[in-house]
Amino acid sequence: MGWAESKVADRIVGAIHDALLACLRPFRAPLALGGVDYDQLRAVLSAKLRTDLRPRQGSDAGYGLMAAGLAATMLFELAFGMLLSVFLKLDPSAAEFATLVQLAVMSMVAFPLLLDFDSVLTGGRDERALEGLPISERTRLAVRLTHTLAYVGSLSLPLALPPLVFGCVSFPALRFGPAFCVATVLAVSLTVALVTGLFGLGLRVLGPRRFRQAVVGLQLGAVVTVLGLIQLGAVTGGTEGFFVLLSERSPWQLLLPPAHFGGLVSVALGSRAWVDLALAGCALALPPALLAAAVRALGGQALREAALATPAAEPVPAPSAPPALARAGLERAGYTFVRRMTRRERGYRMGAWTATAAYVPIGLGAQWSAFVRMDDPALILLVLPAYTLMAVAPTQLFHLRFSDDHAGRWLFDGLSRRQRAEFKAGGVKAVMYGAIPWLLPPFFAAPLFAFGWRAVPQLVLAAVSVLAWNLVLAPLFLRPTPFSRAPSRAEAQGTLLGFLFVSVMTLVAGGLHALLQLHPAALGVGCALAAAALFVLHARLAALIPSRN
């Protein structure tokens, strides 16, 4: 008996399901006041949570949070929470500590929402499953919002747990504990309200159909803006200023939501300073007010129409693969299929493009720090590979599995194992080589700016070795035939874990960098070896790819 069928799994899933629904009970009266049918809300939420938590089976494989993916992400959050608790060693005030933790909570809630907005809030699956059943728009919206809160709450609570425990040890536990818990719930609610309100505004301005088409751009814009600002802060010294602003009490903190929650904790511990009182007032008033505004923005039929809207099918010209990139036959068919689908598949564009866009400002910030602060071209090999293709290509390949049209996979049923491998090899090449023109210019700009032409050999070695490395990794990331599985939100959470992956890859790149320090000739030899490896891998890729579907 596997995990999916075991009674233990059923009990664990049942316990989480019941606990999450129990959290809803206290809100029965306010929800009814807001025109939400509590019994309907509970019934649909229960169905959605079961779908999220149960291991996947059959043709539905891929839907839901998938317990294992969720557990991995929660463990990551727990570790991050432990790391945040180390801050207590610096002897901060309770307000400073709470502010820092809530900043982390808000960030960790905002990113999955930004990266995964479509499936969380505008996915059409529920609308189709509940079609024809008498559920009001308000109840439908309440289902979406409560499910979103359960989803991001389950991610943020493990993060807040270690700081809560260690905070209770460092500060008066009976006052700090409850205030910190309330602050965390409010911080999660505020973040959900901000992100959904932002998208609700987009929905209002653009209308359902245009919003559905523009949401990828909105999501990309939001991710790049947020991460870009963070990186801009890092390279200009603004981050230090930001943290000073967060930690020192001043009226300016009213503009910084994480500081509101620090103020709330401060007041709970006895402070009666007017700034703390004002911050606490904001902490208590802003989340419900913004949630109400978000509900208004998303209300009516607009969200349902956006969920069900079919974007206009734009003709996609068939991209022709140069013979050097994909061999004739199935490999070229796979190349063409994947190129075409990556331009059209909403899920792919939402997931892979957004995650890739997230890496660009991070990579640029890291390059700036490395190249401007340390005058060493060999550092290119330390920084560039990790962020250019090592992180980006696996992300793209990972998302290449999923499609809303996964039922069309029967097309591949008649292919032999060998033919399937050839088809996948074409798809891998389409992603690898297709991403280069978009990704290399931003990443090459900083080294060329910092070191001029003397950076070129390092850049070539970095690019070639990374491409070769990715072709080795490709079989790990693309086991099924491209676009043959149902979308999975939990697996998309892998994009978060991708940040961990980047760290591992940085170590690999660090080894390459250290090698070059040994002898200058290592650069030329490295280039030659990497090019040879790339050539062999390119030619033999199909043989490396497992052909199980």
């Binding site: 049918d37 019994d39 309907q40 509970r42 019934a43 649909v44 229960s46 169905a47 959605k48 079961r50 779908t51 149960r54 996947r56 089976q57 059959g58 043709s59 539905d60 494989a61 839907y63 839901g64 699956r125 189709r128 499953a129 509940l130 079609e131 024809g132 059943l133 008498p134 559920i135 009001s136 039929q301």
Partner: protein, 267 residues
């Protein structure tokens, strides 16, 4: 949500009426003045070629699509004004089954019962009886992801009948069903109609429509090309079968000639 009626009160006649129904998607006029009427206890067969607008009509009548013109009332309720109230009074089997596939069939029926405000005990008994009749009683505890297409269709039919609604909309309900289930559904529809249920039945299976429906409406290019009992439609065309009537009304032309063109296209 108001508690559901254990037994719905007798419908004011007609159970369903659409007058001058028009709907456009952008510049494309999908429905162009459709008039329909179904009385309690009547089964109206709604047929037409692919893309004629049958599903659009049904979705409007079920309160799932707005932005239409015309007077549409279902179970005495104005669809444009109270779509939710309409949905409380109807059963609907959509053309394509979308289900929460991680749920078991029993959990799915619990969900439907909760959303319709049905008594859980009554709903459980009804779903067990219906699934038993469909030969799926032993599968109630199995996840829907393990169900075949025909089995899912039977789950959808059971869901639609769970509240014993006075008006039923069936969009291709026989899709994927085996012969025995098809016969059962035909008998079931006639039995429901005998109890006063009004049924709008969309299908491409002319044989079933001919035998099951009291009246038939043929939709072509967004308009009702003909409407009446099978006998009336057939008599106007010298005793032709429904298939011949349909072909003539929708102008499909000579099938043998078109088949020859397809084969020629194969080279």
């Amino acid at each position: 949500m108001e508690p559901p009626e254990e037994t719905w009160p007798p419908l004011a006649e007609p159970a369903l009426v659409a007058r001058g129904l028009r709907k456009a998607y952008g510049s494309k006029q999908v429905l162009d003045g459709v008039d329909l009427e179904v009385r309690p206890g009547e089964i109206l067969g709604y047929v037409g070629p692919n893309g004629a607008g049958k599903t659009t009509t049904v979705r409007i009548l079920c309160g799932l699509l707005d932005g239409f013109q015309g007077d549409v009332r279902v179970a005495g309720v104005q669809v444009a004004l109270e779509p939710l109230e309409v949905q409380r009074r109807i059963g609907y089997v959509p053309e394509n089954a979308h289900l929460y596939e991680s749920l078991t069939a029993a959990e799915h029926f619990e969900l439907v019962a909760s959303l319709r405000g049905l008594d859980a005990r009554v709903a459980a008994e009804r779903s067990r009886n219906l699934m038993d009749a469909f030969g799926l009683a032993d599968r109630l505890g199995a996840r829907l992801s393990s169900y075949s297409k025909g089995m899912r269709q039977r789950v959808l039919l059971t869901s639609a009948l769970l509240a014993d609604p006075p008006v039923l909309f069936l969009d291709e309900p026989l899709s994927g069903l085996d012969v025995n289930s098809t016969i059962l559904v035909k008998e079931l529809l006639q039995g429901l109609a005998a109890r006063g249920t009004a049924v709008l039945y969309c299908s491409h299976v002319m044989d079933v429509v001919e035998r099951t429906c009291d009246r038939i409406a043929v939709l072509h290019q967004g308009r009702i090309a003909a409407q009446g009992s099978f006998e009336e439609l057939s008599a106007e065309r010298h005793g032709a079968s429904l298939e011949s009537v349909f072909t003539e009304l929708t102008g499909a032309g000579d099938a043998a000639e078109r088949a020859r063109r397809v084969i020629d296209g194969l080279g």
